[in-house]
Each structure stands twice: as C-alpha cells, then as structure tokens.
Amino acid sequence: MTVDAARGAPLGTVAEPPPELVQLLTPEGERVEHPDYDVDLTADEIKGLYRDLVIVRRLDAEALALTRQGELGVWASLLGQEAAQIGSGRALRPTDMAFPSYREHGVAWCRDVDPVKVLGLFRGVNHAGWDPKEHRFHLYTIVIGSQTLHATGYAMGIQRDGVEDAAIVYFGDGATSEGDVNESFVWSAAQNAPIVFFCQNNQWAISEPLERQSRIPLYRRAEGFGFPGVRVDGNDVFACLAVTKKALDNARSGQGPTLIEAFTYRMGAHTTTDDPTRYRLQAELEAWKLKDPIERVKAYLVKSQMADKEFFDAIDAEAKAVGSDLRRRCLELPDPEATAIWDNVYATEHSLLAAERAQFTSYLGSFEEVSR
C-alpha cells in the first residue's frame, strides 16, 4: 500500500464505486422509488414534517443569535441536519428511547422537549433541564460516543423486560473512531440488542474531514461487527424516516442492531467557537446548499399541490413566533441559587456535602452581615 503523504489517505480507495444512498426525495423535490424502502404519508403528515423542519431551523437560528449576543455560552448548530433529525425522530414510537449527542435539537423537538430546556445547558444554568424519563430522550452527552454504550445497556434492559420497544442512539462521524462506539457495536451484536445506531455523517469532526476517521464508508463498518449498515440521504426527510422506521422494526422483532449512516452536511460551524473558513472551502458549502433538506420538501409540496402560499406563510409565521417565544423565555431563565451546586449529587444524605454547603452558606451570609 502506498500513501499519499500530502493527504495521508491510502491510495487505492478512490477507485471504489460510490456507495448506495437511499433516497426517496431528490434535492429537486422529485419523489423517487427505492426497492427496499418507502414511506406512505398523508398530505397532512408531510406538511407536519415540513413544519418540524422549518421550526427547528428557526429555533436553531434563534439560539445562534442568542449566543452572538452573549446570552448563551456556546451553541452547536444543527443547520443542514434537520431532515436527518426530524426523519429519524418522527420514526420513533413514544415508548422508544433516544440517546442524543449534543446537536440533536431536532430530535428533542420530536420528543416534545421544551426548546428552552435545551438552552439551559448552553446558557449554563444547568447541565440538562428536561426529564429524560418523561420524554424518553436522554441527557445530551458531550464526551464523544459515551452514550452509545448507555443506549446499548438500555436496549439490553428492554430485552430483559420482554417488550417491543427499541433504543436509538445518535452520534457523528468523528465518534465512529471512539472506543466506546466500537465497544457498543461489539456488545449490541453479541447481545442482539434492540438498538439503532444513527450516525449523522456531517462530513466534519470540527476541522477533521471524514478521511481522518475512516478509509471506508461508515455504514460498511457494521458488516464487520455482524449487523446491517445502510447509508441514507441525510437531507431527505422521507428516506431518513423510512430507513429508521425499518431499522426500529427490525430491532423490535428480534433482529438486532442496525447502523444508519445519514449522509448530510454541517452547514454551520462545529459550535459558535469554531471558524470553518480555516479548514474548508466555501464551494463545498455552496454545493451542499443545493441539497437543502427543507427546500426539497417545499418543492415537493408545491409540485404535488398539497400546500399553497398560505400554508407556507402560516408556517413561517408560527416559526417566527416560536423563535421569539424561545428568546423571551431564555432571557427569563433565572441563575440558580449558589447552593444548587450541592443539589442532586447523591440520592442519599452525604455528610461531606452537607458540611460544605452549610459552611458556604454561612460564608455567604457573612457578606450580608457586613453590608448591613
């Protein structure tokens, strides 16, 4: 094997045919057939998906603006990944359990998590403001890939409960290099656990392109672990819905895990602390803009005469209202009391924490004494 020193990638991998990509809606908004996957959606359901896509994009833009204005410490934008998240999120049943990474604001929306609760983490008022059990949507996980093992264990629990639920876990292309992700592949295969691995390959792990992580398409990793892998057009909400639904059904019916690689693109920066102009070309972004996940649904709705201007205007107005409401409630989020530092660390009384808390409270009280 020779290696191109300039790029570090092994030669010989370029000649491979392009991988299969499951697509049901082209970037131009044409409905296309696929031999293995299909969706049967009513006009209202399609309009519902469109509404989801537009609203989560608006929420994301609002959060980005709040960060620029210093109201959030940082934000990880989902821009460009709306279809992957809404398609997979809407494939879930209420009793299924989702384990997100930290960019899954669209899945949170599908799980009825109040968007302002998602902002709590990024504003620094808490580490996660929602009840994971109520929404069947776990806490965000920032240490890359750790949540894949939690989802695998959870799926093992589902197996032991003897019910037809499934777990889905979200992670990115960078995470596929983590040991935990690979351990979870090994584990779920050996246990035949009812789990779906949903990898959003957005092409960039901060500044590192996919070829720094893998010399084969990511979905093909699954084969080596002994379960199916599929690459789906991550900007096609229909295809993401269809592929995820099938994988979840397979999990429920005892067929074990599936790896879904949703081929998509991170249109924005990794987070607001990042500057993508240092490592990627504008032309790449422009090319992906033509594959926008929302525009193609809109085009399809127009062409098929399922929706008119009035509908689109109403959705835009609703999205704007939801965004303004999010902004207002974000600004109203109170800073926690100092003693919240010691809250909920242990379920049971802990003598050391109780002593620290009492001492610090008394210390704070001493300032009040002085100011009197």
Binding site: G157, E183, V186, V345, Y346, A347, T348, S351, L353
Partner: protein, 325 residues
C-alpha cells in the same frame, strides 16, 4: 443459625446471592462471571441459579461493562459489575467519572444510577503487573460516587447488599489478598453497622491506626504485636462519605494517629485523613498524623512487593515515630 464461618470470597458470593433473590432487577455482569464464577469465584454458581439474563458474561471491554451498566440502570435494573482486577478499571474511567458519577446531578435528580462496581484491589498475591494496584483515591476524588471497602467476611456479606440497595453508584473495593481468609459471618443484616459508618475494629488508648480493606488485618496484627502500648484500630469502611465522627473520636482519645494504606502515600487517601484530623483535632494531637503506604512509583515487580507494601514492622515503625515526637 445466623452465623457461619466463611471465606471472604464465599461471603461476597452469599451476599450477592441474597441480593439477587431479594430483587429481580439485580443483574451481575463482568468478564468470566458466568460459568467460571469469576477469577476469584465471587460469582460462583450464580449463573446456574439465576440464568444468563441476570448473570452476564460480557465482552472483554471494561468501558462497555460500565457503560452498558449505566444503560441498564436507566432502564430500572440494578447492575453489579465486576472489574476483574484493579489495573483494568482504567479503560472504564471515563464511564465511571464522567458519566456514572455525574448523571444524577446533570439530570437534576430525575435519574437514579444504582450501579455497583466491584473491584478486587491491592497487592500481596505475587501477581504480574496491573493486578496489585490500589486506585481508590481516583474515585474518592470524584463527586457523585460512593467508595467503600470491606475488610472481613462478615462485612463483605452485608456491605455488598447495602451497596446494591443504595440508590447511588458505589465503587466497592474488595481486598483480594484476603479473599481466602475465613471468619464468622453474621447473616442478620439487622446487626450490621450502617453502610457509611466506620467501626472500631480494636479498642486502645495510646494511638490510633486508620485503615481499610486489606490493611485492617495488618493493623490488627501490628496492634496485637505491640506489647507496650494500647493501640486502637479503626476500619474506615466507607471512604466516601467518610465517617469523620468515629475517626475524630478515636484520635481525640489517643492523641496519636497513623494512617495505613497500600496506595502511594503522596496524594493518597491518607492525605485527606491527615488533613481533616489536623483541622478538627489539632489540640488533641501529641504528634503529627503519620502515613504508611506504597511508594511514589509504579507498583513494583512482585518479588519486590514485600518492600513496597506496608507490613506489621512498617506500621509499628511509624507508631514508634509518633511516640518519639
């Protein structure tokens, strides 16, 4: 009959069995815990009696053991993980310290993580490297974890059950060189000390030895051997939270204190004990708190471990030094 003489390994086994009988959500998982019964036989026979769904032979992946245990706990199970040897816990370090320890706090108390991680620890068995370490300070330093260690068969039987019923994650250190020591086990949990309480293992008036796990026996032998002075031995049992009251009461009585553990002295658990005693019992002290433990080196080859590990003579040497002060 409510007492029986058992080895520490067997007492652990009986404790696990009891917990599994009492709660169908308790699952045991780890490498070789099934048919083999664990390399120290702590899980002997459990898979036969409770089945493969509750006694899980896992892939050889420690991060996976703890990570999937977290997932099982989120689904309502009470996993008891076995890490085969102390030196193998580090691949799971992220899952323990960044995930398991913090998850309850991060969820604002909505999630409960009743996970027990059993770790056979310490040296003295002539093992190859990575099989004789004492990593407890890494875990006592991490908020959100409880850290305990049993020193005798009766505590092994009761403390493992207390750990399993505890709603918080517990790192359970087992003194591997004491696995085959036998002693009477009291099966009546009503007689057991509370989970987070230290116990006075031997009463004395002249100096206090503080120890936990394998060093309790060493300290008891040292106290016994000292014919001139009356030495008290406190078994810490719960490292985090620490039962400060029992420790301080003993030190205030004796005025002299030596902390003994196998882990390196520098930045070790004994430093915490010494600092707290100095802060809270300063005027009772006749001498500084001394520490006896491993050296600031990697664990040595086993032919050297007798020099590295505190033994009766090194403990008594430290006791002599506190009296010479």
């Amino acid at each position: 009959m409510s007492t029986e003489t058992l080895s520490l390994s067997r007492a652990m086994n009986e404790g696990l069995r009891k917990a599994m009988e009492n709660d169908p959500k308790v699952v045991v998982m780890g490498e070789d815990v099934g048919k083999l019964g664990g390399v120290f036989r702590v899980t002997d026979g459990l898979q036969k009696d409770f089945g493969e769904n509750r006694v899980i032979d896992t892939p050889l992946a420690e991060s996976g053991i703890v990570g999937t245990a977290i997932g099982l706990a989120l689904r309502g199970y009470r996993p008891v993980c076995e890490i085969q040897f102390d030196g193998f816990v580090f691949p799971a370090f992220n899952q323990i310290t960044s995930q398991l320890a913090k998850m309850r706090m991060r969820s604002l108390g909505t999630l409960e993580l009743p996970v027990v991680i059993r770790i056979p620890f310490g040296g003295g068995i002539g093992a190859v490297e990575h099989h004789s370490e004492s990593p407890e300070a890494y875990f006592t330093h991490t908020g959100g974890l409880r850290v305990v260690s049993c020193s005798n068969p009766s505590d092994a039987y009761t403390m493992i059950q207390q750990a399993i019923s505890c709603p918080d994650p517990v790192i359970f250190f087992e003194p591997k060189r004491r696995y085959w020591d036998k002693a009477p086990v009291d099966f009546d949990l009503a007689n057991a000390a509370p989970f987070e309480q230290a116990v006075v293992a031997r009463e004395g008036t002249d100096a206090t030895l503080l120890a936990y796990g394998p060093m309790v026996k060493t300290c008891l032998e040292a106290a016994q051997a000292d014919e001139d002075r009356s030495i008290e031995v406190v078994d810490i049992r719960s490292l985090n939270p620490l039962d400060e009251a029992t420790v301080l009461e003993s030190v205030r009585k004796t005025g002299r204190c030596v902390v003994v553990h196998e882990a390196p002295v520098f930045s070790g658990y004994g430093a915490e004990l010494a600092a707290r005693i100095t802060e809270k019992a300063f005027y009772h002290l006749e001498a500084p708190v001394l520490r006896v433990g491993g050296f600031s080196t990697p664990y040595p080859p086993s032919r050297l471990e007798d020099h590295y590990l505190p033994d009766l003579d090194r403990v008594l040497d430290a006791v002599d030094r506190t009296f010479a002060w």
